[in-house]
Amino acid sequence: MSDKLQDIINKQQDQIAPGEENMDNIVQLVGFVVGEEEFSVPILSIQEIIKPIEWTRVPRTPGYVLGVFNLRGTVIPLIDLRLKFGLPSEKMTENSRFMVMKNDMETAGFVIDRLTEAIRLKKHEIGPAPETAMQEKTMIEGVGKQDDKILTILKVDKLLERDF
């Protein structure tokens, strides 16, 4: 019994092992589109991604705070990234998703237009945020270069920070 178990564990480790030496240098991201642009956030900061469900407006909040919704018994704020980024609001479509992100302190849902893909980037492929973006306020963690595209990586902590 325990031999079998050990076998399985060993096998699993063998499977994982080959990539391991590079793991430290690789950043896994999830890409999504808001408006015309593609953004991404580290995969570990995402709790889950769900299809849009009903939400409740919370009065006296900035426009981009759509309200709160019920995620299996927990009340979670919902933020429209379109509005947050200063884009005109648009109706949600088939492709819209609530992306539930979290850090140590806070959990919140973000409305995105559509998901693209999971992305693996090597650390050296990520450059710093453009200097024009103000260092303190910027929501941009860095810029990833991938083939022919440029990918904006967002700071989750900044997204989850209350700024009103």
């Binding site: 409740t56 407006r57 919370v58 009065p59 018994g73 704020p77 919140a108």
Partner: protein
């Protein structure tokens, strides 16, 4: 080290529990100084704390408690009568003990608190001196102590071995000193002084003799006691001199004297047989309890919360299914299951809630002591009567309720109960009574604080508040007595002529209000001048799961804690009046200000054609407000959930809950909402631009505005005309109500506002206003009263007849201009005139 921490924890928990009971016991003791049960209980506390603290090496605490123990011990043996002065010192020492324990809890050390003065006083008492005479030099003490030995002797049985040892040491030294003194005296007297060794021999011989004597005596005593079947210690008739010398005898005392007193059951170091000998007649009935971490209970409560939500959802689904499959057989079964689940959930919830309940006596306990201290401090005689202390409340509420009660009771002592002379002059008994009563009322607990003091004078309160700038004269005029009583809760208000130590700094009572509001509680004050005051605090039993009223506005729903809902009424739109830009309605004999929930929560106004409005009358602490909503949905049990840091502390929202359908409903923070209502402009009676029938045409120049002046006095008309001239608006004059009505009916002019005098021939201002308001198209035409009638009744009548503003003569031109401008929504700058 960990072990030490663990012991320390237990020690602290035990000590704090003991002390809690202590205060009350002590005050009770002062009234019944010879209650042996009480004394024993108190003694035991000091003893237990002493024992444990010496074990844990808290020297200062041990030092203090040791002396406390001495005093109490004497009292216990009937050698000391506990009077108020002694009690002061004992209470002081207990305060110090508390302080020390708190320090220990915070720092694990008993440093930084000065106990010497108190210890000195304590030992003075032990020595039979008045504690006031503590300042007397310490030299005297030695003499006193020698005398005291006789009394202390008795108690060796009760002392721990260490103490006995120390005592022996001390006595020996004393004895030696005394011998020395004696010898010196002899030298002086020219007598031959025997050599030291001989003296020692003498002592030994005497010791031998005394030991035998003592043992015989003990035996006789024990026999006597066993015969009498009593446990009360007696004072032996042993001559002082001899007792002084028989120190070694004492060493043997602990063992052979097991029945001397009813030993404190909690004394840990006493030999076992003694414990057996004590049937602990004083022990209070011990409940079977187990200590549970509050966090676990909180977690349990959370889980129950989820269950309640699930139950709500199940009920909803059941209803849906019932509708769809009416008449099917399985329905009945489903129904049964649902109702059982629902029943059990409710029971479970109540059961868990009960585990979190504490008797309010826990809070009440500290008040006898407080009243006692206060009455001594204030030189008044006050008695406290507590009832209903077994009433139970949620732990979190019990913790919150203490402070407000302290403030209220202090206030009652200081401002309520009069001085002894005043009371006698008023024909009352010398002793003032303060009652503290708790009882259940539905889902609430009511705490009633009564005093038979001077009562409150609403007029004094009003004039004081005006003086202090808490309210304006206008507000004061329109204020009922109840509202005037509520003034004491305003920040910055204090009626005491002098600021005393006890109260009167003007902070206390608004703390009460804030705290009670935090608990969703209500405050009700009744007071009769000369008879006293009754203050009622009405507090919900629990905070986590609450009953709520669900209301709808447009497409949204909000939950209002039912605890704050006094009633709901349906009114016609015409019952809403506007006074100084605020909407009000008459509710029986009160004027209730109104606010629309949509204005507070920025709900988009879609035109509402309904002729009726629902008003939810909210009461919190001492204030009231009417909240207009579109629909009343019903009552539901809701679980308060936080909305997380991101949306924490949003104005007017206390949290959210999940409804049966899985949707989120926001919970109204009634306190915050009431506050917000004060600053929100009303839009209750209609939208902008609808004023004055067809007067909503575009205004391109100042003269497009038309105002009619109705006054029988030519001078008054002239004054108004002059005052309004700079605005450049068109003015039309009328000399009385009938004429004004005719002009209006003729339809020749479209007025933006009317300025109406009240006192007029043919038709007065009130009648005119009532007549005008009968026309639907003038419903929103602003009617401004300009009059010299300033009474409250007049203003009230003005409001009822439909006036929106009330200008009293004389007025300044600027003021009139501003009022008119505001009411006609004048948008031009004055230079254009």
């Amino acid at each position: 080290m960990d072990e030490f921490q663990e012991i320390l924890q237990d020690f602290l928990i035990e000590s704090f529990e003991l002390i809690e009971q202590l205060d009350q016991d002590l005050v009770e003791l002062e009234n019944t100084p010879d209650d042996l049960d009480l004394l024993n209980r108190i003694f035991r506390v000091a003893h237990t704390v002493k024992g444990a603290s010496s074990f844990l090496n808290f020297d200062i605490l041990t030092h203090l408690t040791h002396h406390m123990e001495d005093v109490l011990n004497k009292a216990r043996h009937g050698e000391l009568l506990i009077d108020a002065d002694v009690m002061d010192v004992v209470l002081e020492s207990i305060d110090l003990m508390k302080a020390l324990l708190t320090t220990i809890r915070d720092t694990s050390k008993d440093e930084g608190i000065e106990v010497d003065a108190c210890v000195l006083r304590l030992s003075a008492i032990t020595n039979g001196e008045s504690p006031a005479a503590v300042e007397a030099p310490v030299v005297q003490e030695e003499v006193a102590e020698v005398e005291e030995v006789a009394e202390e002797e008795l108690d060796y049985a009760n002392m721990s071995d260490d103490d006995v040892e120390a005592e022996i040491q001390r006595l020996l030294e004393e004895r030696q000193a005394a011998d020395k003194a004696k010898r010196e005296a002899k030298i002086q007297a020219g007598e031959a002084v025997p050599d030291m060794p001989i003296a020692d021999e003498d002592v030994d011989a005497e010791i031998e003799r005394l030991l035998i004597e003592k043992q015989a005596e003990d035996k006789a005593k024990r026999q006597a006691k066993i015969d009498a079947g009593e446990e009360v210690p007696q004072l032996p008739d042993v001559p002082l001199e001899e007792e002084n010398a028989d120190t070694p005898a004492a060493e043997a005392a602990p063992a052979p004297a097991p029945v001397v007193t009813a030993p404190a059951a909690a004394a840990p170091k006493q030999p076992a047989p003694e414990k057996k000998a004590a049937p602990a007649p004083t022990a209070t009935t011990v409940e079977q309890t187990i200590r549970v971490d509050v966090k676990r209970l909180d977690h349990l409560m959370n889980l129950i919360g989820e269950l309640v939500l699930g139950k709500n959802r199940l009920i909803k689904i059941n209803d849906d299914v019932e509708e769809r499959y009416e008449g099917e057989e399985f329905l009945e079964e489903l129904n049964q299951v649902v109702s059982i689940v629902s029943l059990v959930t409710t029971d479970l919830q109540i059961a868990v809630m009960k585990t979190r309940m504490l008797p309010i006596g826990k809070v009440f306990n500290k008040f006898p002591r407080m009243i006692r201290d206060l009455s001594r401090e204030l030189g008044k005689k006050i008695e406290l009567e507590i009832s209903g202390e077994e009433t139970e409340l949620d732990k979190s509420i019990v913790e919150e309720i203490g402070d407000p009660l302290v403030h209220i009771i202090r206030n009652s002592c200081d401002h309520g109960v009069e001085s002894i002379e005043q009371r006698i002059a008023a024909g009352k008994s010398e002793t003032g009574m303060i009652g503290l009563k708790a009882y259940n009322e539905g889902n609430h607990i009511v705490i009633e604080i009564t005093d038979d003091g001077a009562g409150m004078d609403p007029d004094v309160l009003r004039s004081k508040s005006i003086e202090k700038g808490v309210i304006s004269e206008k507000e004061a005029d329109s204020m009922g007595d109840k509202e005037a009583f509520a003034l004491i809760f305003r920040p910055g208000f204090s009626t005491a002529a002098q600021v005393t130590n006890v109260s009167g700094r003007g902070v206390g009572m608004d703390v009460v209000k804030t705290n009670i509001e935090k608990l969703n509680g209500l405050i009700d004050i009744e007071s009769e001048l000369g008879k006293g005051t009754v203050m009622k605090l009405k507090i919900p039993l629990t905070l986590a799961i609450i009953q709520a009223l669900l209301v709808g506005v447009q497409e949204e729903y909000y939950a209002i804690p039912l605890a704050s809902v006094l009633e709901t009424v349906r009114i016609g739109k015409e019952e809403i009046y506007t006074v100084e830009n605020r909407s009000v309605m008459r509710l029986r004999d009160e004027v209730l200000s109104l606010v629309h929930i949509a204005d507070i929560f920025e709900v988009e106004h879609v035109f509402d054609s309904s002729e009726h409005a629902y008003v939810v009358v909210l009461g919190l602490a001492e204030s009231k407000i009417g909240l207009i909503v579109d629909t009343l949905v019903g009552q539901e049990e809701i679980v308060i959930k936080s909305m997380g840091e991101y949306l924490h502390g949003m104005d007017g929202i206390a949290g959210a809950t999940i409804r049966g359908d899985g949707g989120v409903t926001l919970i109204v923070d009634v306190a915050a909402m009431m506050h917000m209502a004060k600053t929100i402009k009303s839009s209750v009676t209609g939208e902008n631009g609808a004023a004055g029938g067809g007067a909503s045409r575009a205004k391109t120049q100042p003269s497009d505005y038309k105002v009619m002046i109705i006054d029988d006095s030519k001078t008054d008309r002239k004054i108004m005309t002059l005052a309004l001239k700079p605005l450049g608006i068109t003015l039309v004059e009328a000399t009385d109500g009938v004429e004004a009505l005719n002009i209006l009916k003729s339809g020749e002019h479209q007025f933006d506002a009317l300025l109406i005098d009240i006192e007029m021939p043919r038709m007065d201002g009130y009648t005119l206003a009532t007549e005008i308001k009968k026309y639907n198209k003038y419903k929103n035409l602003p009617l401004i009263a300009v009059t010299s009638r300033t009474g409250k009744a007049d203003r009230m009548r003005g409001v009822e007849s439909g006036m929106v503003e009330y200008i009293t003569k004389p007025y300044s031109a600027d003021y009139l201009q501003n009022v008119v401008k505001r009411n006609i929504k004048f948008t031009f700058s004055e230079e254009s005139a």
